[in-house]
């Protein structure tokens, strides 16, 4: 059975290879090949899942070792896979949602002449992402980690002719690289401490290492997670990443890749458990991002950017949960999965809307679309309910668990975290309602674009709606399936460990509080956007709003400090290189030349002056010889 694991990665990888090297002759069939191979990997995933369920909880983990990747003195890196419950969860999520989005893209990218390449990239992504979650050592994980980074780079910049897209892609890759720095440093520390970086030994021996070391590793891993999962301070790329085609946003920048950070932290549970300081930092980062993303989400008029902000904030929840330790890990993953469903659904919905609206993204130019695209409206609506945590839907279960866990952290920390999460829930409800209302309710606000094309909103083709419907099912029921009877907890417990947290106040109270804040959020949003007509041109808005529109000025900060500073630095270094380093050399040459020119003058052509030099020379010789004897 375990021999199938490689195929999970292999199938989509093959697809990528075929599609990217295949050339134009595959243009007709390319998207089918891509989708098929994604589906294959999903099928294999299911098969393995079924097989896994058949076994007892403790020996479910499978290993497959292909070969030694880098055999060097004292340095063993294997190409080896490990499929345990945690990985399995991701495998299903990735290949499942991935397949759906492949299907969706068939319709969405229909008119793009580079569709084959697009599917190639998608397959590449799926392969890399699966590699990431299946690796049995950190180096191989790093391989997948950078692989998804590459895929995301290619897909964000898929419409390269748009400078904005190209820039966004570059930005995403660079910011991620900063995170990758963290990961590689973490691996170095592991290597020097444990002499290896395979999960088994490292996590097994984590306890023996000094807390300082573990904290260092933890922080470095967190840095990596921040990069990949767009957490403060490395979150700036996610908003721009929306330049990519919407299916990409759905798959990579909502459902799967951006959650890799959470996976990393949960995977390294043993390290974090032994490094409380690191955990604290993790929690803080999560909490801050949670609010940051939410606030940004409230201010954006670009539907995708609004959703991006929401993604950020939701991942903030997961990171926070992961930072809580054993009481949180499971729920982090659980929320990750449910979020995968509903956020993917929401993005696909947004894509469907844009599809019908000539790729208009400004929600202020939407309105009343429910009449024109019912299916989209319903699926999107369900996703909406799920994310705001409407009782009974996926989001409700997962988020509620996290909030409980946050309180359960205990002490003031617990109270703070708890209230932050609650606040976040309220804001979530607010901005999602805002999106909902601006898009599907109220009056139609769209008008002719520059070329005078009046958009004719229409429902999307089946290839797009079906995936949306399926995801909607996920967003509705997943939470219930996982949550009822702690199925999910039991499923993951063997891997991540689980400790039931006891919040200072009763779980029921927490739940009702959650629902309450949710209602408040929705209410406020309704008062703002449901009752009054939405202005087509955004009002100036409060200081906070304006800041939020600019991602709370974080980008401006980056620009001022890193971009401009960097430019100056490089410019001055180029100057230094040319005039100083090179100047010294040329200077020496020049001075020798000058000396030569001066000495040359002595050769003045007069025999008598030559005689003088001879005479002088002799005198010196004599003097020198006598001197030598004297001393």
């Amino acid at each position: 059975m375990e021999n199938l694991i490689a195929l999970l990665v292999g199938a989509p990888l093959l697809g990528a290879a075929v599609l990217l090297c295949g050339g134009r002759r595959l243009d007709k069939t390319g998207h089918w090949i891509g989708t098929l191979l994604a589906a294959v990997s999903f099928a294999i995933g299911l098969a393995l899942f079924v097989d896994m369920l058949g076994k007892s909880a403790d020996d479910r983990a499978l290993h497959q070792r292909l070969y030694t990747w880098i055999p060097v003195e004292g340095f063993q890196a294997d190409i080896a896979f490990q499929l345990d419950q945690l990985s399995m969860t991701f495998v299903l999520l990735i290949s499942g949602v991935g397949t759906l989005i492949h299907v969706y893209s068939i319709g969405y990218m229909e008119h793009d002449e580079r569709r084959r390449r697009f599917f190639g990239y998608l397959n590449l992504f799926v392969a890399a992402m699966l590699l990431l979650v299946l690796a049995d050592n950190y180096l191989l994980l790093y391989f997948g980690w950078e692989g998804v980074g590459l895929a995301s780079y290619l897909l964000i910049g898929f419409w390269q002719h748009k400078p904005s897209a190209a820039t966004a892609a570059k930005k995403a890759f660079l910011v991620n690289r900063v995170g990758d720095m963290g990961l590689s440093i973490a691996i170095m520390i592991m290597f020097t401490t444990f002499g290896t970086f395979a999960f088994g030994p490292v996590l097994g021996a984590a306890g023996e290492a000094s807390e300082g070391t573990l904290t260092a590793i933890g922080l470095m891993l967190l840095l990596a997670a921040c990069g990949k999962s767009a957490q403060v301070p490395l979150q700036s790329w996610l908003g721009d990443a929306m330049e990519g085609p919407t299916p990409v946003s759905a798959l990579i920048h909502a459902a799967t890749m951006v959650t890799a950070g959470v996976y990393l932290i949960v995977r390294s549970a043993d390290i974090f458990n032994a490094a409380p300081d690191a955990q604290t930092v993790v929690v803080v980062v999560g909490a801050v991002t949670l609010l940051f993303g939410a606030i940004v989400g409230c201010a954006k008029d670009d539907i995708k950017k609004a959703l991006a902000g929401s993604t950020m904030s939701q991942i903030g929840y997961m990171i926070l949960a992961a930072g809580l330790g054993p009481i949180g890990y499971v729920f982090a993953i659980m929320h990750l999965v449910t979020h995968g469903f509903f956020k993917a659904g929401l993005f696909l919905g947004a894509g469907s809307v844009m599809h019908g609206m000539n790729d208009e993204v400004d929600m202020r130019r939407y309105g009343g679309l429910r009449k024109y695209m019912p299916v989209t409206f319903v699926t999107f609506g369900l996703g909406y309910l799920a994310i705001i945590g409407f009782p009974g839907l996926s989001g409700f279960f997962s988020k509620d668990m996290i909030i409980e866990a946050a309180f359960a952290k205990g002490g003031t920390q617990g109270w703070i975290l708890g209230s932050v999460t609650l606040l976040g829930a309220a804001i979530t409800a607010y901005y999602m309602t805002r999106v909902m209302l601006m898009t599907f309710f109220g009056e139609k606000r769209w008008q002719a674009d520059a070329e005078g094309h009046e958009p004719h909103p229409h429902e999307s083709p089946k290839s797009m709606t079906i995936p949306m419907i399926l995801l909607a099912f996920g967003s509705v029921f997943a939470g219930g399936i996982f949550g009822v009877g702690d199925r999910f907890v039991h499923w993951l417990e063997p891997v991540t460990g689980y400790a039931h947290g006891h919040p200072p106040i009763s779980a029921a109270a927490v739940t009702s509080a959650t629902v309450a804040v949710m209602v408040i959020g929705v209410g406020v949003a309704y008062l703002q956007y449901g009752r009054r007509p939405v202005p087509v041109v955004a009002p100036r808005g409060s200081l906070l709003t304006r800041a939020a529109r600019r991602d709370l000025l974080q980008d401006d900060f980056n620009h001022a400090v890193f971009v401009r500073g960097g430019t100056h630095l490089t410019r001055s270094l180029v100057y230094v290189d040319h005039s100083l380093v090179d100047g010294v050399v040329n200077g020496t040459a020049a001075s020798v030349g000058g000396l030569s020119g001066r000495l040359r003058k002595l050769q003045n052509g007069y025999a008598r002056s030559y005689a003088v030099s001879m005479f002088g020379g002799t005198a010196v010789l004599i003097a020198a010889t006598l001197l030598m004897r004297a001393v």
Partner: protein, 99 residues
């Protein structure tokens, strides 16, 4: 009389000759100064020969004369041809080649 004085004289003559070479412009004169230097050498040789009481020095003096004569032959030939070409025997005029 102490033969050492002859040496001083020789040295003096030699220096005078050298100085002449350095100062005078006319090639002929310069050349005569060189001859003077050679003769200074001869004087030294003879003086030493007398000191040491062997003939080597004197014989050397003869050779020097012969060589000097040969030098005159060659030297005058060259100088004269230059003089005819430039109508000047000044050493300083012959400075086409420099630097």
């Amino acid at each position: 009389m102490n033969p050492v004085n002859y040496l001083y004289l020789a040295a003096l003559l030699f220096t005078i000759g050298a100085a002449g070479v350095l100062i005078r412009r006319n090639a002929i004169v310069v050349f005569m100064c060189v001859e003077l230097m050679l003769n200074a050498c001869n004087l030294a040789f003879v003086a030493f020969s007398r000191m040491h009481g062997n003939l080597d020095g004197q014989i050397f003096a003869f050779f020097t004369m012969v060589v000097a004569a040969a030098e005159v032959v060659v030297g005058l030939a060259i100088i004269v041809s230059v003089f005819r070409a430039r109508h000047s025997a000044s050493v300083d005029d012959a400075s086409l080649m420099k630097l």
